[in-house]
C-alpha cells in the first residue's frame, strides 16, 4: 500500500469514527490516535526516512496535506459538537414566558389630581398664574368683598361652616381672587385651585369638602366673548376640538352679567344620552363678568378695567371624565378604585 493509499485509508477511517464521536473528548482522543505522538499519520511520517531523496519531498508534502485535511475534519466536528452543546444548553434554559408574575408597581395620582393637572396645564398654557390661599378665611374675603353681605340670601346657597362670626371655612376659592386683586395690579390672569367647604350632608353627589379651580382675568376691555373664548380653549384642550360651550343667563353676586355654562356632552358628543338626559349638553360651571362693585371694593377702577371669572368644580369634571357615579369613592381611598386610574 502506497503512502498515498495509507493516508486515504486513515482519513476514511477517521471520518467514519468522527461520525460516531459524540463529544469533544472523543474527538480529542481521535486526534491523538491519528495526529498524536503515536498516531497513525505520525507513524507514516516516520516512514519517510526509508524513501529516496527524490521521492521524499513529494511524499512529505502529501503527508502534510493529509495532516491539514484531517486536522480540519477534526476541528469541524468539534465545532459542530460545540454548537450542538450550546444549542442544547439554551434549550434546557427555556422558561415559561407566560408564567404569571407581579408587575412593577406604578403609583397613580388621585383622579381629582389628574383632572386638576389637565385643567392647570391648559390654563397655564393660556398664561394663567396659579395662585393659592388659605382654606380657613375671613368672612370679609369669602363673602363681603365678593358682594355677599351678611344675611344675604345668597349665603343660603352655600351653607357655610363657621369657626366664629368672622372666620369661615371658605365656600369657594374666590377669596384668593379678592386677595390677588388687592395685592396685584392689572393685567391679572390667575387660576386658583383648592379645597372648599360647604355644610352639605354626604351623598352620591354632595360632599362637605370638595375642590374648585377658579379663573380670573382683569384687563382693559375684557369682554364676555373673551370669557367664552377662554372656556372654549380650555374645554377643547380637555375634551377635544369637537366640544362646544353654551352660555345661559344666570346669577351670582360676584359677576354681572352672569352665565351658567353647558358643555357638549362628553359621553355622547352631543347626540343625547343618559348622562345628559337626552339634551346633548351637560352643565359644567358658572361664570360671568366681574361685578364692578367687586372691582371697586378690591381697589380696581371699574371704568378703566373689566374682567371675567369662572369657577369649575373639579369633582364634577372628574366624575364626568371617568364616569364615576358616586362622589364618596373619591374620598374612601380604596385601592381597588384608585388603582384603576393612570
Amino acid at each position: 500500500m502506497s503512502i498515498k493509499e495509507n493516508i486515504e485509508a486513515i482519513r476514511a477511517e477517521l471520518e467514519a469514527e468522527l461520525e460516531k464521536a459524540e463529544n469533544g473528548k472523543l474527538v480529542e482522543e481521535l486526534r491523538q490516535k491519528v495526529l498524536g505522538r503515536k498516531g497513525t499519520l505520525t507513524a507514516l511520517r516516520r516512514m519517510l526516512g526509508g524513501l529516496s531523496a527524490e521521492e521524499r519531498p513529494a511524499m512529505g508534502q502529501l503527508i502534510n496535506e493529509g495532516c491539514e485535511k484531517i486536522g480540519a475534519l477534526l476541528d469541524a466536528r468539534l465545532e459542530k459538537l460545540q454548537a450542538l452543546e450550546r444549542e442544547q444548553k439554551l434549550k434546557s434554559e427555556t422558561i415559561d414566558v407566560t408564567e404569571p408574575r407581579e408587575l412593577p408597581r406604578v403609583g397613580v395620582p388621585h383622579p381629582t389630581t389628574l383632572a386638576l393637572q389637565e385643567v392647570v396645564s391648559a390654563l397655564t398654557g393660556l398664561g394663567f398664574d396659579i395662585v393659592e390661599g388659605p382654606e380657613i378665611e375671613l368672612d370679609h374675603f369669602n363673602f363681603e368683598l365678593l358682594n355677599i353681605p351678611k344675611n344675604h340670601p345668597a349665603r343660603d346657597a352655600q351653607d357655610t361652616f363657621y369657626v366664629d362670626d368672622n372666620i369661615v371655612l371658605r365656600t369657594h376659592t374666590s377669596p384668593v381672587q379678592a386677595r390677588t386683586m388687592l395685592s396685584r395690579k392689572p393685567p391679572i390672569r390667575i387660576a386658583c385651585p383648592g379645597r372648599v367647604y360647604r355644610a352639605d350632608e354626604v351623598d352620591a353627589t354632595h360632599s362637605p369638602v370638595f375642590h374648585q379651580i377658579e379663573g380670573l382675568v382683569i384687563d382693559k376691555d375684557v369682554t364676555m366673548g373673551d370669557l367664552k373664548g377662554t372656556l372654549d380653549a380650555l374645554f377643547k384642550k380637555l375634551y377635544g376640538d369637537d366640544v362646544e360651550t353654551r352660555f345661559r343667563p344666570s346669577f351670582s353676586p360676584f359677576t354681572e352679567p352672569s352665565a351658567e355654562v353647558d358643555l357638549t356632552c362628553i359621553s355622547c358628543r352631543g347626540k343625547g344620552c343618559r348622562m345628559c338626559k337626552g339634551t346633548g349638553w351637560i352643565e359644567v360651571l358658572g361664570c360671568g363678568m366681574v361685578n364692578p362693585k367687586v372691582l371697586e371694593m378690591c381697589g380696581i377702577d371699574p371704568h378703566e378695567y373689566s374682567g371675567f371669572a369662572f369657577g369649575i368644580g373639579l369633582e364634577r369634571i372628574t366624575m364626568l371624565r371617568y364616569g364615576i357615579k358616586d362622589m364618596r369613592l373619591l374620598y374612601e381611598g380604596d385601592e381597588r378604585f384608585l388603582r384603576q386610574f393612570r
Binding site: 403609583g107 393660556l126 393659592e132 373664548g229 353654551r246 373689566s306 374620598y331 374612601e332
Partner: protein, 798 residues
Amino acid sequence: MKISMNWISRYAPITVSPAEYESRMIMCGTGVEGVEYLGAECENVVVGRVLTCRDHENSDHLHVCTVDVGAAEPLQIVCGAPNVKEGILVPVALVGAKLPGGHEIKKGKLRGVESCGMLCSGPEIGVPVELYPSVGDAGLLVFNEEYALGTDVRTIFGLDDYVADFEILANRPDCLCAWGIARETSAALDTPLTLPEISVKYAGGNIRDHVSVRVDDYSRCPRYASRVIKNVRVAPSPMWLRQVLHAAGMRSINNIVDITNFVMLETGHPMHAFDLDKVRGRQIIVRTAHEGETLRTLDGKDHQLQPTDLLICDAEGPTGLAGIMGGEESEITDATTEVMFECATFDRAMIRVSARRMGIRTESSGRYERGVSEKTIMKALDRACQLINELDAGDVVEGNYDYYEKLEAPKPITCSVRRIATRTGVNITADEMVEALNKLCFENVSVDGDVLTVTAPDYRQDIEGEADICEEVLRMAGYDRIPSTRLRGESTQGGMNPWMARKERLRKLLSGFGYDEMMTYSFVSKKSIAALGLDESDPRMQPLMLRNPLGEDTSCMRTTLAPDMMRILAGNYNQGNAVAMLYEFGTLFDATRRTAEGLVTESPALCVGAYGSGIDFYTVRGVAEAICAYEGVDVKVVAGGDPYYHPGRCARLMHGDTCIAALGQIHPDRAAALDLPEQTVLAEIDMTALYAAAQPMGQVSPISRMQAVSRDIALVLPESQQLGPVMDTIRAAAGPMLEDVKLFDIFRGLQVGPGLKSCAFSLTFRSADKTLTEDDLAPVMKKVLKQTGDSYGAVIRG
C-alpha cells in the same frame, strides 16, 4: 315655583309648545325645572249620565248601571258607590282610561256582570274636594251643573293645562309670581303683556272707624298698608280661583283666604287677613319684642322672643310674628264679618335671622327673605279689594292705612352704550338696547350719543347700575350671540406656584415608588386625635373646632394626617386588599398659632402609609429618606417618635435641629385597635421644613475615569450598637477617596459570640487622577479600623 301656563297666558299669551317655552325662558334667564301636564292622570274620562240603575243580583252593594256618555249606545257599568242613582251626571272613566297611580281601566266582569268603564269619585280622578266640592271619598263625584255628555272632564276641572316649575334666581324675587313670570314670558316670546287694570269700588265708611294701626319700627317694617272689608260674605271660591290654587299646589280654603293666597301668587306680595272682631281693642301695633316676651304661633309652638324679633300686636299683646307666621285668634272663619287685609314689607335680614332662630319657614318668610318690593304694595292690596268686589265677598271700606318713613324715588341710571357693548363682546346697537329695555318694561329709556338713560321698573330691586343694564340687554339679545374671542392685551407668563410645583415633583417620585394618592376630608373627630395618645400640651391636641359641624366625626380641623391614613389603611385591609401603599397631601391647621389677620396657621404636609408583603419600617424610612435626598436635604436618622408608633421601631429624620419627617411602624396596640396588620408603617413629612432645607440641583461633578478599588471589612459590634453612626464614622475616617460604603451582611451566631453581631461593609475607593494602590489604601483602612474601634469597640473579625 309651580304656575299654570293657562294662567300666565291670560297675561302674556304663550304662543309656542311647552317644550319650546321651557327652552326660550331658560335662554332668557328664567330657569324652568320642567313642564308637567296636569291632566296626565285623568285621561279618557268624560261626563256621563246614569240612565238606569238596578241592584246587582250577586251582591248586596253593587249596582248595574247604564250610562250615556254621548255615544251611539249607552255603556253598562257596574258601580259600588253608595250614592249612585238614576239621572245623576258623573265622571265616567272609559275603557282605556289612565288614572292616578298608573291605574288603567279595562273591560271586565264583576261577579258575572260585564262592566265597560268606571263611574268615578273625585280622588279617583285626582280631583280633591277643595277643587270640586262634592262628597269626596265617600262616593261618586256628582256634577252640580249641566255639561254636554261626553265632555272631557279635564276641561271642567282646569286639568287641561300645563304647569311649569320655575327656578327663580336669587336676584329676581320679582319673578316669584304670575305677573313676574308673565313679564318675562312677554319679553322672551315677544307677545303682548296685559296685566289687570286695578280699580276698587268703595262702599263708603272710613277705615279709621274700624281699626287703628301703628308702626313703631320703620327699620324693620319699612312699609305697612291695610284696608278693611265689611259685611264679609265668607263662601267657597269660584271654580277659576280654585283651579289656579290647585295648579300651584295650594288648597282652597274660602274666598277671603283664597284671595290673599291668589294675590300673593299673582303679585308676589304676602298678604294677611285679620278677623277684626277678634283683634282686641281693634288696634294693630307693629313693634319689636320686649325682653323676655313669649309667643305661641299658629303651629302651637311657644317661642322665646328677642328684641330683634318684630311682632304684630293688638291692644293686649302679640298675635303674630311679622312676615313669618300669624296668630290663631284672628283667623278667618265662616262667622267672620269684618276683615283687615295687611300688605307690608319687612327687613329681609331680620326675617331671615328670626325665622332661622325659631326654626320656622313659611311661604311668607321665604318671600320676605328673598326681598319684596316696597313700591308695589298698594297695587297688591287694591288687587285684593278688587277681587272682593268681583267675588262679591264683602264691601270695601273707604280709605287705607299706608305707613312708611320714606320711599326712594326711582333713580335714572346712566350707562355708556360703548361700554355695554364692549363688556358683552356682542355688537349690540343702541337701538337694540332701547328695544330690549322697553320689552322688559324699563321706563324713560333714552339715548343721547353714547349715553343711555333708563329707570328700572319699581318691582326690580336688583337693578343698580350699568352692569345690571348690560345683563338685561344681553339676555334679550341672546347669550348665544356671545362670540368666542381670544384674550388680547399684555401677555402674561403663567405657571404653577411653588407649592403646586413641589407637590407635582413629589407625586412623580411617589408614583415611581408605587404609591397611590388618596384624599380624605380635612375634618377629624376629637376622639381620633385623642387616640394618638399625645401629650395634652401638644398643639395637635388643640384642634380648631367648627361652630356648626355636620357631626362629631367631622367636628374639628385636622392637625395631623396620621389618623386619616390609619383609617384608610384599615378600610383597605378590611376590604381584603393585600397591599396598600398610599400617600396624601393635606393642609394642617394649627389653632395655637395665629397669623397677623387672626387666621389659624395652615401648613402643607405629606403622609405616606403602607402595609403588605415585604413592607416594614425600612420601606417607609427609605421612602422618606429618598424624598429628602431628592430635594437635596441631608438628614440623620434619630430613633424615637410619637406614642402611636412602636417605641422600638420609629424614628425622625433630622436636618440639624429640624425634624423633616417622623416615621415608623405603628404601635401594635393601635394596629390591634384599628384591625390593621402589625407591620403597618407611616411617614409624616413636614413639607414646610423639607422645602426650607431643600437645595436646588447645582452644577454636576466630573466623573473619574480611574479604576475603583474596593475593600471589605467585617466588624464585630455589640448587638445594641446602631449602625447609622458607625457608617458615619467609617465615612469620616475613610476621607475623600471613599466613593461609597455599603453594609452587605450582618451575621450573628456562636462564632461571633453572644450579644455581638458581625457587620460586613464594602468600601469603594476611587481617585480623580490615579489608580489607587495598596500603598494608598492601607493607611486609610487602618484609620477606619482604629476609629471604629475607639468609638464603638469594634473588632475586626478574623
